[in-house]
């Protein structure tokens, strides 16, 4: 695992390897397995991500009844060409809901990096593949890029909402997805890490304030914003827009913000939306 995005970028240049190769080779070495073994394992995870999208049941609600059935509403509006945000972004939005609603309904998902943020990476990657008919191998490579970025965030900061708030979960997922999208669009290592940095910057300070402590409100809809933010950040990076603050420093800022957050907005269900009159009412009803 790498401790720095700059280090991955440097290795790409020095070793004349792609972003995906640098990450995959390093982890295969650490796990003492061949690259092809490692790759087929990652392919299995990408398959599980696609399954987590396919298994969606339009009529299913979570145990609390707070979430479920919303992705289907978006699908209807999208197929009627009613969405302002356009075809691709609409598809991303719908898939983010499909996967995260399935998670809330205790279905099998791939934590990426966490279960609460499990909709972001599949929403962006699977939508890209469906739209551009990208090969499975290329998609798995993009998943490596996402994993490598997440690994650096885990190493420098945290991926846990209880430690760093929602910025550590949806923010990290968004950064991972943004980097993967840049890779898929043919961006270089510098564009990949800046796409990730722009995505993370946009979500810095995001509180983890789940109503009744459940991974439902606002988590499910935050998967949408994480996924859409990844799309715009990737487009920015591909347009040649860069983060003024270097990517590794953005991650360090996320860590510091997490440390200064009150425990009330770090997954305790005590502050933010959870502490609103309606949030409390819902919690009281459920307990």
């Amino acid at each position: 695992m790498f401790h720095s995005l700059e280090e991955i970028k440097t290795r790409c240049v020095e070793d004349n390897k792609s972003f995906y190769e640098v990450i995959a080779l390093e982890d295969a070495k650490e796990q003492n397995c061949s690259l092809s073994e490692h790759f087929s394992h990652m392919k299995y995870f990408y398959g599980a991500m696609k399954d987590s999208d396919l298994q969606y049941q339009a009529n299913l609600k979570s145990h609390s009844g707070l979430v479920g059935t919303e992705a289907e509403k978006v699908r209807k509006r999208r197929t009627e060409n009613g969405l302002l945000c356009g075809e691709f972004t609409g598809l991303v939005m719908e898939k983010a809901l499909r996967v995260s609603e399935s998670n809330a309904c205790m279905k099998r998902i791939v934590a990426a990096p966490t279960a609460g943020s499990c909709g972001v990476v599949p929403a962006t990657l699977v939508s890209f593949q469906e739209t551009y008919n990208t090969s499975e191998a290329r998609m798995v490579e993009a998943l490596y890029v996402a994993a490598g970025i997440g690994g650096v965030i885990a190493s420098r900061a945290t991926l846990s909402g209880a430690e760093g708030g929602c910025q550590a979960e949806i923010g990290s997922a968004s950064a991972m997805a943004a980097g993967a999208l840049v890779y898929l669009m043919g961006g270089d290592a510098n564009q990949i890490i800046h796409g990730a940095a722009i995505a993370l910057k946009g979500l810095l300070g995001l509180a983890c304030d789940p109503v009744a402590g459940l991974v439902e409100v606002p988590c499910v809809k935050r998967n949408v914003i994480g996924a859409i933010n990844a799309v715009s950040s990737a487009d920015l990076a591909m347009s040649g827009v860069f983060s003024r603050i270097p990517p590794d420093e953005v991650i360090d800022a996320m860590k510091n913000i997490g440390r200064s957050m009150s425990p009330a907005i770090r997954e305790t269900g005590a502050g933010g939306l959870a502490a609103t009159p309606t949030g409390r009412k819902i919690a009281a009803k459920l307990i």
Partner: protein, 222 residues
């Protein structure tokens, strides 16, 4: 930690830290006890206490103690299954002070009367850290075969353990030493790259000055 801790685990929702991490903690504790559990007393701290019910943390811990894996579809039904299997457990709140917000203390009693106290925390993405065993510090992830030796703090015990590992061609990934005070209780925690045969653990247990030997294998079933 590796890439499949970032992308992964494949798990039953809703929370990687509060559901999957809790299953894994239960699983590691059951393996550390290494005999059928007669009774489990579970003490929830911090966010585990505050939001554990909503995330199914309680069900996940019991599921893990019964040997279920993080993607087992039966996790939501672990209480009913525990009842059928006559598996006894209790839940209480606890303040573990400065511990990680997602921490739990689990006290296990085996059918032979064997006793084990574990403090563990779920650090995000389904990964865990075992922080304490029987009141002494420990620090391991449950991703490697792990050997924990409690001994009297006196010269030679580290050499005995490492010689055994050399003899069995087992490589050490990480190694930590802790003690309560000079000449008091000490513990060494070794994460290993290969599995250690069970008979080696029996051999260590019989050494003078060794109080207790605990072994965790990520591969073995509970």
């Amino acid at each position: 930690m590796n890439l499949f801790d970032v992308i992964g685990p494949i798990m039953v929702g809703p929370s990687s830290s509060h559901t999957a991490g809790a299953v894994k903690i239960g699983n590691v504790c059951a393996k550390l006890l290494n005999e059928k559990i007669a009774r489990a007393d579970i003490f929830l701290h911090g966010s585990f206490l505050a939001t554990g019910k909503g995330h199914g943390t309680d069900k996940a811990l019991v599921a893990g103690l019964m040997g279920m894996k993080v993607d087992d579809p039966d996790i939501p039904h672990s209480f009913e299954i525990a009842k059928e299997q006559d598996f006894h457990y209790s839940f209480q709140g606890i303040d573990l002070g400065d511990a990680h917000p997602n921490s739990v203390k689990i006290t296990l009693e085996g059918i032979s009367g064997k006793h084990l106290d574990v403090v563990a925390c779920s650090v995000g993405g389904g990964r865990i850290t075992v922080c304490e065993i029987d009141g002494l510090s420990a620090n391991f992830s449950g991703d490697y075969p792990t050997l924990i030796v409690h001994n009297i703090d006196q010269p030679g015990h580290v050499a005995e353990v490492t010689s055994l590992l050399q003899h069995k061609s087992v490589n050490i990934a990480t190694m930590q030493l802790y003690r309560s005070g000079r000449g008091g209780n000490a513990v060494m925690v070794l994460e290993l790259d290969q599995e250690l045969p069970r008979e080696s653990i029996g051999w260590l247990e019989h050494l003078e000055g060794v109080v207790k030997v605990t072994y965790y294998s990520p591969m073995e079933e509970v």
